[in-house]
């Protein structure tokens, strides 16, 4: 990496990006950014426009309107300049079948302007990092399993130590051990490279990413840190309660503490009644609910706050109308 270059405010900028295919709008008015060294998850249902957006950012497809910039360089005006800062692994990760892994990575290193004196060293390094050295370095790419092919794609992305890495579904087709390895690898890039990663495995994204950008039908529906999105998109917190009390008694006890509380009946557990109590997320009753219920004479077998994960955020975000998202 060129350490002397000034640090831009954003490593990746998408500004009012739009892509139309005739009457079909794949991406519309999409704006988001990725800060240097930040790992951002790019989420959306199938056909939401994730791959199209990533291809526009990578310069392999031109947008209809809007601006895309990589490390401050416009992708449309200076595609070669932008590509010097970028590595992109597309969704299906196309690789030449008739090259050996080491040959392929050496070729890619030369094309990516890696210092000729460092090509061998970089190739060995990324093959080690992606666990390719022992089992795949001398094999033809066409003979590799899906998992090893994904690793070759990721090794290629890291080869030239780019400022920005865009990975479209990097863990697709990998087994759980490989996913863990790739997750650790991506984590290790935090602070060194800006990473934009799309994945259908929301748990992975939650584990690895600093923030998420969620799109639906080509438009931004949410973006920010998971915690912030949880507050924004899931305004209610909930508790699951297993008790002998009935719904009316429970509701009365809850309302005494928080007038906006709601109670929903769940299937009974071992003959005990189960309920979900909903409270506004800012309600002070969150901390005192258990005590208040016991004080009201409600016998509790279990009480636990429901943890909303990225899946719940994703579902809530993709259900709401495009355009409701806050601007970056």
């Amino acid at each position: 990496m060129n350490e002397a270059a000034p640090l831009p405010e954003a490593a990746v900028v998408a500004e009012k990006l739009t892509k139309r295919y005739g009457s079909l709008t794949a991406v519309e008015d999409l704006s988001f950014s990725v800060a240097p060294g930040e790992i951002v998850g790019f989420l959306g249902p199938n056909g939401a426009g994730k791959s199209t957006t990533m291809r526009i950012l990578a310069g392999t497809m031109s947008g209809t309107s809007g601006r895309a910039a990589i490390w401050g360089v416009s992708v449309a005006l200076d595609p070669v300049g932008a590509k010097r800062h970028l590595a992109y692994m597309p969704e299906n990760n196309p690789l030449p079948e008739d090259l050996r892994v080491e040959e392929y990575l050496t070729l890619r290193a030369r094309l990516k302007d890696v210092d000729p004196a460092r090509v061998d060293e970089r190739v060995r390094r990324v093959m080690d990092d992606c666990d390719l050295t022992r089992r795949a370095s001398g094999r033809l790419i066409g003979q590799l399993s899906k998992g090893f092919r994904q690793r070759v794609g990721i090794a290629d992305a890291l080869l030239a130590e780019p400022r920005v890495v865009i990975l479209d579904e990097p863990t697709i087709g990998l087994d759980p051990h490989q996913i863990l390895g790739i997750r650790d690898l991506i984590r290790s890039l935090r602070g060194k490279m800006a990473v934009l990663i799309s994945s259908h495995i929301l748990h992975e994204v939650e584990q690895v990413c600093d923030k998420v950008v969620i799109i639906n039908r080509g438009r931004l529906v949410a973006q920010g840190r998971t915690e912030d999105l949880r507050r924004e998109l899931l305004p209610e917190i909930s508790f699951t309660i297993v008790t002998r009390a009935d719904a009316a008694a429970l509701l009365a006890a809850c309302r005494a503490t928080e007038p906006a509380a709601t109670v929903a009946t769940l299937p009974s557990v071992d003959g005990w009644n189960a309920f979900r109590i909903g409270l506004p997320s800012a309600s002070p009753a969150r901390e005192s609910l258990a005590g208040a219920l016991i004080a009201a004479g409600i016998s509790l077998r279990e009480i636990a706050e429901d943890r909303f994960g990225l899946e719940d955020i994703f579902l809530a975000a993709t259900r709401r109308a495009p355009g409701e998202a806050r601007r970056p």
Binding site: G59, T60, S62, A87, P94, L95, P96, R110, D113
Partner: protein, 253 residues
């Protein structure tokens, strides 16, 4: 330029290791070997104005139509189909460097095929000819003809590359190249055979038609006549086709 050299070396290496190249080489040598054999047999039966080498070179259109499309068809069509072209274009290598590298490597392979062909007349002359008699190898016609093949090959390969750029199907690319090369090879002769003289409104075509005589160019080159017009024709045609190919690749970005 560094990318171009890297890509050219890669393309040459891929060509050398590709079954497609070896199959094309086999077909080429079988075709030209067969033609040369029959030219020798015919030459031994009856006296002819043409030497065996000249007769063989006259059939240059046969490998041009049957073998060259096999070499060019996969250059871009296969890479577009598999997606590796998109992956290649995510690097700082420009579409122009990619097109020029594929063009030049294919042209080099094409010229190497023809250099291999020279073994037929040279070996025939060495084995069957008498010392000092050059009629069987006919070096002036042989090397003049090869200069024509190399010069016209620039445009022929560029046409094949362009055809490969516009489709994802290698078979369709080969068919397109076959049609374009057939039209190009036959155009001059066909236009000359038209009664242009009697159609006044087509009179302007007379001179351009004369410039398109592919077989006339072969005759001139083989006779050692260096005319700049066909060289300019093939040169500008090559640049035009490659320019269109670059635009086509850029359009896929």
């Amino acid at each position: 330029m560094r990318h171009f050299r890297t890509l050219l070396a890669h393309e040459l290496r891929s060509a050398a290791l590709s079954w497609n190249t070896w199959a094309a080489a086999g077909l080429f040598l079988a075709l030209m070997g067969g033609i040369h054999f029959f030219a020798l047999v015919e030459g031994s039966r009856a006296p002819s104005d043409r030497t065996p080498v000249e007769s063989t070179l006259w059939f240059f259109w046969l490998p041009l139509l049957c073998v060259l499309p096999l070499l060019t068809m996969r250059t871009f069509a296969e890479e577009r189909r598999s997606g590796t072209l998109s992956a290649l274009l995510t690097t700082p290598a420009s579409p122009a460097a990619v097109v020029w590298a594929k063009f030049l490597s294919t042209w080099i392979v094409w010229v190497v095929f023809w250099l291999l062909f020279t073994l037929f007349p040279l070996l025939t002359s060495q084995r069957l000819g008498t010392p000092g008699d050059v009629r069987l190898s006919d070096p002036s016609i042989l090397w003049g003809g090869l200069c024509f093949i190399a010069t016209s090959g620039l445009l022929h390969v560029a046409i094949g590359i362009l055809c490969s750029c516009v489709t994802r199907s290698s078979a369709l690319a080969a068919l397109l190249a076959f049609i374009c090369l057939l039209a190009m090879t036959a155009a001059g002769g066909a236009m000359e055979s038209l009664p242009i003289e009697s159609w006044e409104w087509l009179g302007w075509l007379r001179e351009p038609a004369a410039h398109l005589r592919t077989f006339g160019h072969l005759q001139d080159f083989a006779a050692g006549i260096l005319d700049s017009r066909p060289i300019i024709l093939y040169g500008t045609g090559t640049l035009l086709c490659l320019g269109l190919a670059i635009l086509s690749v850029e359009g896929q970005e």
